[in-house]
């Protein structure tokens, strides 16, 4: 069973096609990236996977459950983190985690919170209001919230956006460690090439709502005869073709 199965999914907003007939699967225990520029359809795709946004057509299943019809069966096993969604500012870190612990029905909540706070170095911040934390601290709290229910599938929207390189690097290491320890599946939307190169087993490259190429980072490097994901990304973004394409334009 695939952790994620997307079949012919389209999302239209009026006449605008935000996501155009995309299909892909994600194997359990792997890390997959949706890579693309601004407006490529990454966040729209993630939103549809989570059921925040209803697709115009197509089918989505997460962990073997149809997300359009049986969303609430799978949500307790999934979680999500985004720098564009906040936790209530006036609640302390402890209060925020307690509320979400109840919403997810986390057994042994206090012990789970203590474990996460230790792992994510949040113990000293527990009684601070979420609104008074730095960007890096907020990201760590958001991660603790996203990991409270030990998700089998973790969806991350630009997980290291607005973080300094040190914190971003630490967070990537943490995700990889979490995946190793739990066998969880990670799907992240990103335009951070380092992140994608370092973390991902599979890359889905999106452009104007479509998946225009896919493969492992090594496969993509070979296909485009490039050494970095950034070069591959620029080739696709600027419509330079693959080396085997006679119409290829050199930079």
């Amino acid at each position: 069973m695939n952790a994620v199965e997307v079949r012919d999914v389209t999302k239209r907003f009026g006449t605008v096609v935000a996501v155009d007939t995309i299909s892909f699967t994600v194997q359990p225990g792997t890390v997959t990236a949706l890579l693309g520029g601004n407006g490529a359809g990454k966040t729209t795709t993630l939103s549809m996977l989570l059921g925040l946004l209803l697709p115009t057509s197509g089918e989505i299943s997460l962990l073997g459950q149809d997300m359009i019809r049986h969303r609430y069966r799978v949500l307790p096993r999934v979680n999500f983190s985004s720098p564009y969604v906040d936790l209530p500012h006036r609640l302390t870190v402890r209060e925020n985690l307690t509320v979400y612990g109840h919403l997810y029905g986390v057994p042994g909540l206090k012990a789970r919170m203590a474990e996460l706070c230790r792992d994510l170095d949040l113990t000293g911040l527990l009684d601070r209001p979420a609104g008074k934390l730095s960007a890096g601290q907020k990201t760590r709290v958001s991660m603790a919230r996203a990991l409270l229910n030990q998700p089998e599938l973790l969806l991350l929207d630009e997980p290291t956006a607005s973080l300094d390189p040190d914190t971003a690097d630490w967070l990537r290491g943490y995700f990889q460690d979490y995946r190793r320890r739990t066998g969880a599946t990670l799907l992240l939307a990103s335009h951070n090439m380092t992140e994608v190169e370092r973390m991902c087993d599979q890359v889905l490259i999106m452009k104007t709502g479509r998946i225009v190429d896919r493969g492992t980072p090594a496969e993509l490097f070979a296909r485009y005869a490039r050494d970095t994901m950034e070069e591959v990304f620029l080739d696709i973004a600027r419509d330079r073709r693959r080396p085997d394409d006679p119409c290829r334009r050199e930079p």
Partner: protein, 265 residues
């Protein structure tokens, strides 16, 4: 649809933490009902000295002011509890949690009840030493009036929340103003018979008209009009169903438009 008490309580906890952490919010909730009861108390005293009807029905204005606040606070409690999620840009995380829309509605109704109690009870108690009027002297009918007005407040609050969900935070001021459209037709301080003939059927189509008429019957004649209570209840059920339906419809619409992820100030 099965509601989880744990999840409803979990979301209530989020709002209770906010109230616990801010004594200013608690004061704000009780502030206007207190000011209102003081103003109507003095008005009532003045009119009692100059009108035999008011002298006979002592406290009818204060009772009206307090019970109107029950409906207003009921509406505000629902709308503000929902707006709180939008202001804090937290709706995205709530929407991907196992919390169902029905559970969210249940928790904001519970919070509205708590907010109404915090807002109106201090004013009701203040009227006892200040004007020698106890709202509680209405007896058992008070509980019925309270419940009926709360239901209408909830219905209005849910309609406001639906509009905010549909039109964004630009519509948030409706939380404070929309319910006042009902005010002239509710008969809070005067009987419905005062209204022009053509307007009276409109007033009778609203539950508060029945409640305030019933309140005056109890206070002036000592008569409990169960017919008025039952008609108010029937209308409340219609309006509350409409409010819940409108909210769930707006929620579905937000999922179609993708408005749940990027809402906020």
């Amino acid at each position: 649809m099965i509601l989880s008490v744990r999840r409803v309580a979990g979301l209530c906890l989020r709002h209770l933490y906010i109230l616990r952490g801010s004594w200013l919010r608690l004061i704000e909730m009780a502030y206007w009902p207190l000011i209102n009861v003081v103003m109507w108390g003095f008005t009532s005293q003045f009119l009692s000295n100059n009108s035999s009807w008011f002298a006979q029905a002592g406290g009818v204005l204060i009772a009206g002011a307090l019970l109107w606040d029950v409906m207003f606070r009921g509406n505000l409690g629902v709308a503000l509890s929902f707006l709180e999620e939008m202001w804090s840009r937290n709706l995205g995380y709530l929407s991907v949690s196992p919390l169902r829309p029905g559970e969210m509605v249940a928790s904001i109704l519970v919070m509205s009840f708590i907010r109404t109690m915090i807002g109106v009870l201090p004013a009701a108690f203040l009227a006892i030493p200040l004007y020698h009027f106890s709202l509680f002297s209405l007896g058992a009918p008070l509980l019925v009036f309270w419940a009926l007005l709360t239901m209408m407040g909830w219905a209005t609050g849910l309609a406001v929340s639906a509009m905010v969900l549909r039109f964004g935070l630009g519509a948030e001021s409706l939380a404070w103003v929309m319910i006042f459209a009902i005010g002239p037709l509710a008969g809070v301080y005067y009987p419905i018979s005062v209204l022009p003939d053509w307007l009276q059927p409109v007033a009778w189509a609203l539950p508060p008209a029945h409640v305030f008429e019933g309140m005056r019957e109890v206070m002036t004649h000592g008569v409990v009009r169960t017919d008025l209570m039952l008609s108010a209840l029937a209308l409340d059920l219609v309006y509350l169903s409409l409010g819940i339906g409108l909210f769930l419809y707006a929620w579905h619409g937000a999922r179609v438009r993708g408005a749940l992820l990027n809402v906020g100030e």
